[in-house]
């Protein structure tokens, strides 16, 4: 064994240590290591194709085996559309009144505009210890680390964590590294949206550091607060499922079910820049 190590083993170990060190240093200073970038660049078209096929199989599977569920869901959605149309009609009057009053008080009109980059989801998490997505847009398209990613309905999907030439890795909202300012839409109370390891396994996240007097109920919608200016405000994160006490029994936290359907995402949008007046 000693001879073997002397003649061959040491050389391989030195190569491994050097390669690991180079990869680590590159990822530390350049954001992504050259090897991951090369693999990402080469496999992105292949991943996109394979993901399309897998998506089609999922659709066929859904049609064949979940037909009754889809039919019931469709009926419920039709009813929901009718209710929302009625609400929209009622809201038009209020909106016109709001515009008149804003003009009267000389206030700037509320608006939010996003500079979006469309991307396809090319791969899903390959690890049980984190929740990530790989998308088909990278530095070539102006994507940068810490930009928000949303779905077609404006629900927050996650935050860009690593960027390659034509790909990027997104830490989803349920990942343990997620931590951003949030607010309860109904009361406008501020809190912290964060990933939790145990909840991540169930596809959920939590809203913690709730102020003592906060009124929060099941079903409350949670939005990004935009405090600090890093992330835009008003992105829908999810809705409250239950409110629990933490291990010390002194503080409460809410379990949030994300609004974005993280398991079936096909297309997403990266918010490259934003301008919000509220």
């Amino acid at each position: 064994m000693k001879d073997f190590m002397k003649h061959n083993g040491i050389l391989i170990l030195i190569v491994a240590v050097l390669l690991a060190a180079i990869t680590f240093v590159c990822s530390l200073f350049a954001g992504t290591d050259p090897l991951s970038n090369a693999v990402g660049v080469l496999t992105t078209p292949f991943r996109s194709g394979l993901n399309t096929v897998a998506g089609w199989v999922d659709d066929v599977n859904g049609y064949l085996f979940d037909y009754d569920t889809l039919k019931t869901e469709n009926e419920a959605l039709k009813q929901q559309v009718a209710d929302l149309e009625e609400q929209a009609r009622a809201g038009e009057d209020a909106s016109e009144e709001n515009t008149r009053l804003r003009e009267l008080l000389n206030l700037r009109e509320k608006h939010s505009s996003f500079d979006l980059e469309s991307a396809m989801v090319t791969a899903r998490s390959t690890s049980n210890w984190s929740s990530t997505l790989t998308i088909s847009a990278g530095s070539d398209y102006g994507v940068e680390v810490d930009q928000c990613v949303i779905d077609e309905y404006g629900n927050l999907v996650g935050i860009v964590s690593e960027v390659g030439t034509n790909w990027a890795t997104v830490n989803t909202v349920i990942d343990t590294y997620t931590e951003l300012g949030g607010s309860i839409a109904r009361t406008n109370s501020a809190a912290i949206i964060e990933g939790d390891f145990t909840l991540m396994q169930q596809g959920k996240l939590k809203l913690s550091y709730l102020p003592e007097d906060t009124q929060i109920i099941s079903g409350d919608q949670i939005l990004t607060s935009g405090k600090g200016g890093v992330y835009p405000s008003g992105l829908v994160v999810g809705s409250v499922e239950e409110i629990l006490d933490d291990a010390s029994n002194l503080n409460r936290y809410a379990v949030i079910a994300p609004s974005a359907d993280l398991d079936h995402l096909v297309q997403v949008f990266v918010i490259k820049d934003f301008d919000i007046v509220s």
Binding site: A16, D33, A54, T126
Partner: protein, 170 residues
Amino acid sequence: MTSPDFFRKWTAYALALIAVLCLECFIMNRLPVWGVTPRLLPLAAVIVAVLEGPLSGAGFGLAVGILADAVYPGLAGGMTLILTFLGLGMGLLCRYFLHQNYLGCLICSILAFFTIDLIRIMFDLLTHVASLSTLCFLAFRELSWSLVFTVPLYWLFRAIHRRISRSANL
């Protein structure tokens, strides 16, 4: 073994590794069992180390480690180092203390996962990601589900090993 046989064998191993990678990254990650998906790349590295011995095991571990660092998120060189050491270690273990059979492969796979998960758990405990019991439970589920795949993977790599060794001896 002649140079063409050597080349044929390692090309076959590389193709098998690509198939394993596709299975892990595109199929199995859509079908979680008990909330986890299996980790097949470390298994491939261990199985080849068991069949081929420490030197080839370390070399193959190095290649699989580089691949794992490229496809698993946020490891930054860690798997390159770990899988090279595991390839070398499991190759030596099987050559001097265990047998180069399925049982040896199973024991080596358990040890390899134990090492990888121990490092992961220590890192996560240091960064206060979750409690020890939560992390251990996840590691246990991941190990259990991954070990199921030792059967088809051992069969696949042993078939390559035997077929090319036999044709080289003829």
